[in-house]
């Protein structure tokens, strides 16, 4: 008997029965969406302020970064193909709600790792930013060398980049070549995931064009390489923050627009429901009066 009453209770609710939303439900929904719209609007303004500051400091950082990579481009240093130890530095940040920033870097890193492992090389990755760790630790946890947190809260400085480089050099992983993956800032509405190469001391020292550079001993070259590593990381971090703030701005902007659309639709539904409720009550009163 117990089971039968239980089954009888369940029956009316299964199937495609949808109750019409009551006025109360719509009111609650409308209020919550309006609150969310306020939050996304304020997040957009904060992101816009941070973006303008980041873009202003990106200009000298770009000159600095291109100057740092000038040697490798002009001397046309290329890593030899047979080297085995690779390093991938992925630059992103800790905070979400910025569109496809983190997932695009993570996707590029995964592709690189798959390609290198397929070619039989050994790969380790450095994650700058907690989001990357979250995206990568499940599938590529054994390749993670260093994780960096507290990235993205404040604008990146040269000191931050030097801390990352110090950790990397102290970790003892002697990579032969590597690359740094970051989101290069193109404009307010667009960014592109870009890759810049990193070379090890041996690659640079044994490169054929290094012969034209005069009066270089191993010590000077090592200092120079370490400084160049910090410069490239700094450049990647600067570009990455600017892209992230601009992406967050556009994401929050489209979220606010979606919220306004939903508010308009819900307001119409609310008015229609209200009028239907009033009409139903009137009919009930009239038919009740007629029954008397």
């Amino acid at each position: 008997m117990f089971a039968r009453t239980g089954a009888a209770l369940f029956l009316p609710q299964c199937g495609q029965v949808r109750n019409m939303a009551t006025l109360k439900d719509i009111t609650i929904r409308l209020k919550s969406i309006k609150n969310i719209q306020k939050i996304t609007k304020s997040m957009k303004m904060v992101a816009a302020a941070k973006y303008s500051r980041a873009e202003r400091s990106l200009k000298p950082a770009r000159v600095y970064g291109t100057g740092a990579m000038a040697l490798y481009e002009k001397a046309e240093i290329k890593a030899p193909e047979d080297k085995n130890k690779h390093l991938i530095i992925g630059v992103s940040s800790d905070r979400g709600l910025c569109g496809a920033i983190h997932s695009s870097v993570a996707k590029a890193m995964k592709n690189e790792i798959a390609k290198l492992l397929g070619a039989g090389k050994e790969v380790m990755i450095v994650n700058v930013g907690d989001k990357l760790r979250g995206l990568l630790y499940r599938t590529h946890g054994q390749h993670i060398l260093i994780n960096c947190k507290e990235v993205g809260r404040k604008p990146p400085t040269f000191t931050d980049a030097s801390i990352i480089a110090t950790e990397l050099l102290d970790s003892g992983y002697e990579f032969d070549q590597g690359s740094i993956l970051f989101n290069r800032f193109r404009s307010v509405i667009s960014y592109k995931t870009d890759e810049k190469p990193l070379f090890s001391l041996d690659t640079v020292a044994n490169s054929e064009n290094m012969g034209i550079y005069d009066d270089i001993d191993a010590d000077v070259l090592r200092n120079y390489q370490e400084f160049a590593l910090v410069n490239i990381i700094y450049f990647g971090m600067k570009e990455s923050t600017t892209s992230e703030q601009s992406a967050r701005m556009t994401a929050m902007d489209s979220a606010s627009k979606n919220a306004s659309e939903m508010i308009d639709k819900l307001t119409l539904t609310f008015n229609r429901t209200r009028q239907a409720v009033i009409t139903k009550e009137l009919i009930e009163i009239i038919s009740g009066a007629a029954a008397l």
Binding site: L71, A165, F227
Partner: protein
């Protein structure tokens, strides 16, 4: 046609590397001088640059032999084409002279010398007004990566030595 173009392109770099004494030096130097937060010169055309490096101070003119050097704390002097000169104090960094006579001077921190207040007491002058030596100290205390390699005198962990070095450096800066 394609072969001729290919040959021409291969021939040019060879011509550039072979230098005879009779060749006039290239008149243009593309000079880029920047710190992470500020750009002082971007692909500018200057006459000469004096840089302090770990292996000694030297001057760079157009068509200097290609080299890579690491800077030590000191004063960089840039001589413009019109004869005027500008001095900057740099904490550390690197300088690259390429074969096409382009020079990239990347300094970790650089300030124009006239913005330093040297009238105040020596050690604190540079520490307080621009915090450059202070930054060096701090960097040295937390991570000896750059400073230890760039300042050969710091082989023992003594702050007093650091301040003595700063005093010497301050005198050098003041005398320039």
């Amino acid at each position: 046609m394609m072969a001729a173009r290919f040959l021409l392109r291969r021939a040019v770099p060879a011509l550039r590397h072979a230098r005879c004494y009779a060749d006039a030096p290239a008149a243009q130097m593309s000079f880029t001088f920047a710190s992470p937060t500020q750009v002082f010169f971007k692909e500018a055309n200057v006459k000469q640059i004096d840089v302090p490096t770990l292996t000694g101070a030297f001057g760079i003119l157009p068509a200097h032999v290609p080299t890579l050097q690491v800077l030590r704390p000191g004063v960089v002097t840039v001589f413009n084409d019109d004869g005027s000169s500008a001095k900057y104090f740099v904490s550390s960094g690197s300088v690259t002279v390429n074969a096409d006579s382009s020079v990239q001077l990347l300094a970790e921190e650089a300030v124009p010398l006239d913005s330093l207040d040297l009238a105040v007491s020596p050690c604190y002058a540079v520490i307080s007004t621009q915090r450059i030596i202070g930054k060096l100290l701090q960097a040295w205390l937390c991570s000896p990566l750059f400073t230890l390699q760039y300042i050969p005198d710091f082989h023992n962990n003594r702050t007093q030595d650091c301040l003595e070095y700063n005093r010497g450096l301050f005198n050098e800066v003041k005398s320039v």
